[in-house]
Subunit: 353 residues, 2 copies
Amino acid sequence: MKSADFASLPLAWLSGGSQQSDIVLSSRIRLARNLSGYPFPARCDDKKREEIAGKILERLSETPFVSVLGTWQMDGLDELRRNVLVERHLISPDFSRQTGRGKVVVVDDQGIVSLMINEEDHLRIQVFLGGLDLFECWRIAGQVDEALDVLNYAYDEEFGYLTACPTNTGTALRASVMVHIPGLEIQRKLGKIIRECNRVGLTVRGMYGEGSESVGSLFQISNQVTLGQREEELIEKVSGVITSLVQQERAARLKIWENDTSKLEDKMWRAWGIARYARSIESREAMQMLSWIRMGSQMGILPQVPPGEWNRLILDIQQAHLQCFEGRRLAEQEIDVARASLLRKRLANWNNE
Amino acid sequence: MKSADFASLPLAWLSGGSQQSDIVLSSRIRLARNLSGYPFPARCDDKKREEIAGKILERLSETPFVSVLGTWQMDGLDELRRNVLVERHLISPDFSRQTGRGKVVVVDDQGIVSLMINEEDHLRIQVFLGGLDLFECWRIAGQVDEALDVLNYAYDEEFGYLTACPTNTGTALRASVMVHIPGLEIQRKLGKIIRECNRVGLTVRGMYGEGSESVGSLFQISNQVTLGQREEELIEKVSGVITSLVQQERAARLKIWENDTSKLEDKMWRAWGIARYARSIESREAMQMLSWIRMGSQMGILPQVPPGEWNRLILDIQQAHLQCFEGRRLAEQEIDVARASLLRKRLANWNNE
């Protein structure tokens, strides 16, 4: 697959969702599973991992719930393509650096389901949808999970699903939601929100998960604990927190608007001006400008950039994406120039002043 | 005269000049004269000053060299109109605050000649042209000067023209040139240039003369000493320094362009983006953005904003001008909003991307 096509692999969530999608970009359910009778991937040799991958792929081809678009061995992909998969949230940064045999990513043709085989666990099932839609993600993940269950998962009556890392044991479920909360950031309420999330067992991270810094007022919120609660309870909890956060963010925007309309308008329009005209822009600044543009567009202040286009933009300006579009590796300065060029051209389409 | 018309009083230099006008905005000759037999204005009472003004205006009406557009008593103008005259460089900031009788400004209908009567001296003759054109300014100033000489100037064979402030005595001539030197500012050569100018008896000031800070890479360069040299020698010296400065600035721009084209382009286009879209902009930032725009326009990088339009813009975005266009006094925040609005609308005309 050409690198530019790789950087355009389908992702259903990009086109938006039906619920709270003004604030919530995407919902994700991730299940960790292991096959009993095999050691965890870190202690498997190449042959064992290939055997595991073979079993899973074979079973997968028989289930009607996943129509596979592509299956790639990690060590068969160049660095750019691996990084694109990370930028598209299809694999973890860790997985992108793993080169042993039998490390496989599977992507479905609807851009909803993806699998990592032999990452930390034998199997990671991931389901992504737009907006706040965790229960639907869970329903789909459950179908895939059930279809593969015949492989004989490692399961303990007391502890639940067994996983390589004990923090995942139990339901082995992670529900995460990506939110865009610039209003709360302007109001300097992030610290309070993070503390409140932690208190109820949720973590708040940047757009690219663990260790990634937050850019463009985008945050991933997910459950920390997987043990001791049923899946539905966990999902219910995350959904409830997000629903409240969405209301807080909407209120924050209104408040900021009422307090100083002209300053807010100015901030937004300047972001538009910079994104429309800069000739070189670093990732962090670009994400910040896009954050203002999304908020300004939603508040009816800026030209209407459709949410789907905005979602595509925040991926397309990432560095591996940019290099895939160009079809070659770029120097750091060239990346900033390519990023500015892409932003300029894409936003010119929505310039309805 | 309506305040908006006042803020549009003709100024010949705005439409540009024939020489070095890529770098030199305007040339100005100012002559200080006093009538013998009268004390300097500071020591005149209202009656005396009115008598002096009467004499000068009467004589002026008889000379074919000045076609008067307007004659205004300072104390008959509201603060906005007085400030507009300062912003248009037609009167000094000091004069704008003087309210005694007989303090008069005269403006010709070509926007070339203006007089201040009873500022620090009885008479200040000022001639403004576009580009580097000091000798032509001097020729015109000389005609006006000669026509008024019948009033019997205070003149000493040894010291020359006598003036209220001894630093003006002698030729009582000040030749000043307004230059736009962003390239030299980027190269951090301003300190060196100021020192070199001082060494040959020239001063370097901001756009609004003594005490004003430099904004938008605009500087006024003029002779410090008026005594001990003939007028032509003084003018020759200033012209020579400016000609060399113009060459240095052109070389600086080329050098910057060669060293980092994409960074320079980025700076310019961002300035364009901000000027095209900001909803609120302070004077200093607006001047800085316009500086990039002038340079970028001249280097063929940005849309071509004609020099005349650019010159009008740097005056029209000043706060008294903005308030005159609106026809009322504005709060500080309103001024920034009005400035952004004016910039946006005017620059939209040149958006030929």
